[in-house]
């Protein structure tokens, strides 16, 4: 089942179109930055953009910061929301279940496939970001956000953790979308449901009156990976981000499993 799912993922045009679009946006931004030389003032605008004007090394992190708030979660919600509901809508879910594929196996295969998609997307964006950054702005020793300089190995390590952090954040989104995907037979409804949850989270994050729930919002620590480029690394928010995502992943996958394993398949 897993091999079938993975082969469906990699042979599907949508997968590669989505990833290309995700990688294209930061590249377009980079070209604009290079041509106009107008960067955001330090401390303003998307993270790292002020720095990369003089140094392409951190462009992978900047690229991820650009697509993280909206673009990437939308792509992940669409793919994960389609996972089960898409099969239901196509009429293939019933044939998979009576093939038979055990419901829990089907869910695991879908989850692994979505994870592969997330990793693929994040890694491709990071690599494209690195290449575009290096080509347009050059590779120089990096000064951290805190001002001290970082060695090449150190930067590579921090970039790896960044990729992992963004991927885990997106797995949180994927879990919510997968949960929505077993609730409905409409892939569109599932993707929009997950996005609605994220928008709600981002709105609550801005409301001071909701400050008490802030640390538990799925989107709250998304951009905490910026702290990875401080010296020394400020792990507090990154750790909390990992923790919150782990909670969401466990809760929503658990919910998806509980619902799906007892659900009447009427699609």
């Amino acid at each position: 089942m897993l091999t079938v799912e993975l082969s469906k993922l990699v042979t599907r045009t949508r997968t590669w179109v989505t990833i290309s679009v995700l990688a294209a946006l930061p590249s377009v931004v980079a070209v604009f930055l290079k041509v106009t030389g107008v960067g955001p003032r330090p401390g303003e605008g998307p993270a790292f953009l002020a720095e990369v004007l003089h140094n392409g090394t951190l462009y992978p992190a900047a690229a991820l910061a650009l697509i993280l708030p909206v673009f990437l979660p939308v792509a992940v919600a669409v793919v994960a929301g389609d996972a089960v509901a898409g099969e239901a809508a196509a009429g293939t879910l019933r044939y998979l279940i009576i093939r038979p594929v055990a419901r829990s196996r089907l869910l695991v295969a879908k989850l692994v496939t979505v994870t592969v998609f997330v990793l693929l997307a994040v890694v491709v964006v990071a690599l494209t970001g690195f290449m575009v950054g290096a080509a347009l702005f050059g590779v120089h020793p990096v000064a951290s956000v805190s001002g001290t300089s970082l060695g090449a190995q150190d930067v590579t390590f921090r970039l790896f953790v960044t990729v992992a952090y963004v991927a885990v954040s997106m797995l949180g989104v994927a879990s919510i979308a997968l949960f929505a995907s077993v609730l409905t037979d409409s892939p569109l409804a599932a993707a929009l449901g997950a996005l609605a949850a994220l928008v709600a989270s981002q709105v609550l994050d801005l409301v001071d009156a909701a400050a008490s729930v802030r640390p538990y919002l799925p989107t709250h620590y998304w951009l905490a990976f910026v702290d990875l480029f401080r010296t020394p690394v400020l792990w507090r928010n990154v750790d909390r981000g990992f923790g919150v995502q782990a909670l969401y992943i466990a809760a929503f996958l658990g919910g998806a499993w509980a619902h799906f394993s007892t659900k009447d398949i009427n699609s």
């Binding site: 091999t3 196509a90 293939t92 879910l93 019933r94 044939y95 998979l96 279940i97 594929v101």
Partner: protein
């Protein structure tokens, strides 16, 4: 007609909130049967089929398929079952061959080494061998239906559960499917065919169950469901004379006499051949004497008093 029971349900019931979709259905399908499951749309046929296959969970009652409890043991049962449930389902952007290979690879009991030959074989069987590489979305309804049948046949199942299998097929296609099912049944495959088409069940099946509003109203051999009604139609140029003869017999009575070319007689225990002998013996010229049989439509009408949803 002999052999093990392939499908057995006891008191199978499915409730959705206040609505009872399937109400205490007891089915028994023997190995090698061509079994018809007949009912109008919305009578609970598809829900029952889905419960047989473990897609829908019963509210109460038991299901046993191939001698094992469902859905608890679906991992052992379903690899030997082929099914077509409420129309075929395929990935529209991929070819028929690719779709069959994908579904085959998704579960157990479909070895990889002979996958290609099995796919070609079933495509041949359903008349899609020459279909080429075009995606399923370019198929006609009939072709999709054939592909759905092909998918059901892919692993030589012992039991085929087919929901409206001739949907969208032309008369030629229906004949082909019929021949195919007869061949399979001859080789010992049990076929459970769910349909709202009386003619389909009448033409395909030896045994049938009739379901109406979630309840089983009859389950028997089709020829028994269509058993003689105890009436005969006597065609004769000597209607008046024949009538007189029948009235003179103990038992039989004339039930319809207003036609000039014959009369309907309720036999009431007399054998039709004896009636014929009496008539001829009394000088009545009999051109035809036929035992009346119901078709399924009339059976259905009799059992349920409802024909509003039945298509002939």
């Amino acid at each position: 007609m002999s052999g093990a029971t392939v499908i057995r349900t006891e008191g199978l019931t499915k409730r959705y909130g206040g609505l009872t979709a399937v109400d205490g259905v007891d089915l028994e399908v023997a190995e090698g049967d061509l079994f018809g499951f007949l009912g109008p749309n919305g009578s609970g046929k598809t829900t029952t089929v889905r419960m047989l296959l473990g897609l829908v969970f019963a509210s109460s009652g038991r299901v046993e398929v191939l001698g094992r409890e469902m859905p608890a043991r679906s991992a052992e049962v379903l690899p030997r079952v082929g099914a077509l449930v409420e129309g075929p389902g395929f990935y529209p952007d991929r070819s028929g061959r690719r779709n069959l290979a994908l579904i085959d690879a998704a579960g157990p009991g479909g070895p990889r080494h002979d996958r290609r030959s099995r796919v070609e074989e079933v495509l041949e069987r359903v008349g899609l061998a020459a279909v080429g590489r075009r995606p399923v979305k370019a198929y006609s309804t009939g072709m999709r239906q054939r592909l759905g049948l092909a998918a059901a046949l892919l692993r030589q199942p012992r039991l085929l559960v087919l929901d409206e299998p001739t949907n969208g097929l032309d008369p030629q296609g229906i004949r082909e499917v019929r021949t195919l099912l007869m061949e399979l049944a001859e080789k010992g495959t049990t076929v459970f065919l769910s349909s709202h088409l009386l003619a389909e069940v009448e033409a395909f099946c030896q045994r049938a169950a009739i379901v109406h509003r979630g309840r089983l109203v009859a389950q028997d051999r089709v020829d028994r469901l269509l058993a003689p009604t105890g009436m005969v139609w006597v065609e004769t140029p000597d209607v008046d004379q024949a009538e007189a003869v029948v009235w003179g017999l103990a038992g039989p009575s004339v039930v319809e006499e207003d036609r000039r070319d014959g009369l309907r007689v309720r036999l009431d225990g007399m054998a039709p051949e004896d009636l014929n002998a009496r008539l001829v013996g009394s000088g009545v010229r009999v051109s035809e004497l036929v035992r009346e049989r119901l078709n399924l439509e009339e059976v259905f009408l009799r059992l349920t008093g409802d024909t509003t949803h039945v298509d002939r």
